[in-house]
């Protein structure tokens, strides 16, 4: 059996054992989206103007919450070291791991976002745009999260530092993601910011695994 497929299925099995990690992010995403209309104004126009930032913001926080455990358990029980020694390419193994991680933590957010967006009175076509935006942006964010988790691996309490590192790097994605949603609700052209998001996603798929792998190597020695 292919080593990448083996790693992938192993990651999925482990993720099912640690399902609380994924659930925490999921609940946070849902709660932020629900609480906003409750504690602020709940009229339709206002909600439609803030739905873009809220979606990006809650996705950002949800992915940040679960990412501390991205490499830490595997680092402590020696799995990362074994991956490094295995005959497959370390960069591709990291890519496999990142995608498996994305499937477990971000895909549920995209699925539930249809429901949360309808709380904000978004129309059916708008919901599709929101899901597309979240798909592209979480696929970018997961690489940034992987890098940050890898580089802060040896640190005991990395919480604040992680936030400091991750915020400036993620900012363009947040800006363009909410711009896409905003444009689609206003009925304007969404192709510009959407192309940008796609470009960022390509770039992060190209660069992300390399940088994450070298960060892991630095953290190992």
């Amino acid at each position: 059996m292919n080593i990448y497929f083996q790693l992938f299925s192993r990651e999925i099995r482990v993720a099912f054992k640690r399902w609380t990690d994924a659930l925490t992010g999921f609940i946070l995403f849902f709660l932020i989206a629900i609480l906003f209309p409750l504690i602020s104004d709940s009229n339709k126009e206002f909600l439609l103007t803030i739905v873009g930032p809220i979606m990006m913001f809650s996705a950002f926080f949800a992915s940040m919450l679960s990412m501390q455990n991205m490499f830490k358990p595997d680092f402590q029980n020696g799995t990362i070291e074994q991956l490094m020694l295995s005959k497959g390419s370390f960069v591709s193994l990291i890519l496999t791991k990142t995608i498996a991680y994305w499937l477990f933590t971000s895909l549920p957010l995209i699925l539930i976002s249809g429901l949360t967006a309808s709380i904000y009175f978004v129309s059916a076509s708008g919901i599709l745009i929101i899901q597309l935006t979240l798909l592209l942006s979480t696929l970018t964010m997961v690489h940034i999260n992987a890098f940050t988790a890898a580089i802060t691996l040896g640190i005991r309490y990395p919480g604040a530092l992680m936030t400091l590192i991750i915020t400036p790097i993620t900012l363009p994605i947040l800006i363009f993601g909410s711009k896409t949603i905003e444009n689609s609700i206003l009925g304007a052209d969404i192709s510009g910011p959407l192309y940008f998001l796609t470009g960022m996603m390509m770039l992060s798929f190209f660069l992300g695994p390399w940088i994450t792998a070298s960060a892991l190597k630095i953290s190992m020695d």
Binding site: G154, L161, I165, P168, I169, L171, P172, I175
Partner: protein, 242 residues
Amino acid sequence: MNLKKIYKYGSPPNFYRFAMKLEPWCLSLGLFLTAIGSIGGLFIAPKDYQMGDAFRIIYFHVPSAYLSMSAYAAMGIASIIGIVWRSNVAFAVAKSIAPFGALMTAVALITGMLWGKPMWGTAWVWDARLTSEFILLLLYFGYIALHATIKEQKRADRAASLLAILGIVNLPIIHYSVVWWNTLHQASTISKLDSPSIVGEMLWPLLLMIIGYMIFFIGVICRGGSAEVLMREKRSNWVKEV
């Protein structure tokens, strides 16, 4: 190009001697130019016809803003050199740039706020350049914090350098992503090299200030870098001789 000459400065003792020789010259020349520039800017240059005397803060705002970005570029290049050639000197230089760059960014932000208050009516607007300058400050803080948190010297160097390189790749993206909002900041005054939109009497002190800041910055790197090299090599023989 003769690479051997450059490699020579990669060895700590050679770098130390070179930096110590360069440092007093750079510091004094930088101070001298900055002094002339501030006298020229604060007393000799004519008043601006719109902003009056308040425009004179430009003589501190623009050089520090220039320097905040070029210092980050310098830090990124030093980090790349450090990672590629595993050069301890380059890591030391990159580490010594970071606090100074953060300081320059903070100065640029504060003088910008002081300038914005009377001119625009508010100290802060969510404008492209202000925002990207602020993000730059966050990037510096991230570098410094990461370097400070990791206990082991070598690992800290390489991890923080990786972050600096990522920042270099990401900085243009951040900048343009915020530029594509609407922008209130005035267009830059002297980046159009062929026809500057500023009169000569106002321009020369500004150029002097920028050059003076740059030279002073090199002096500060020499000082900080050589101190850092001394700290790292404190067990070796050549340090005992110094």
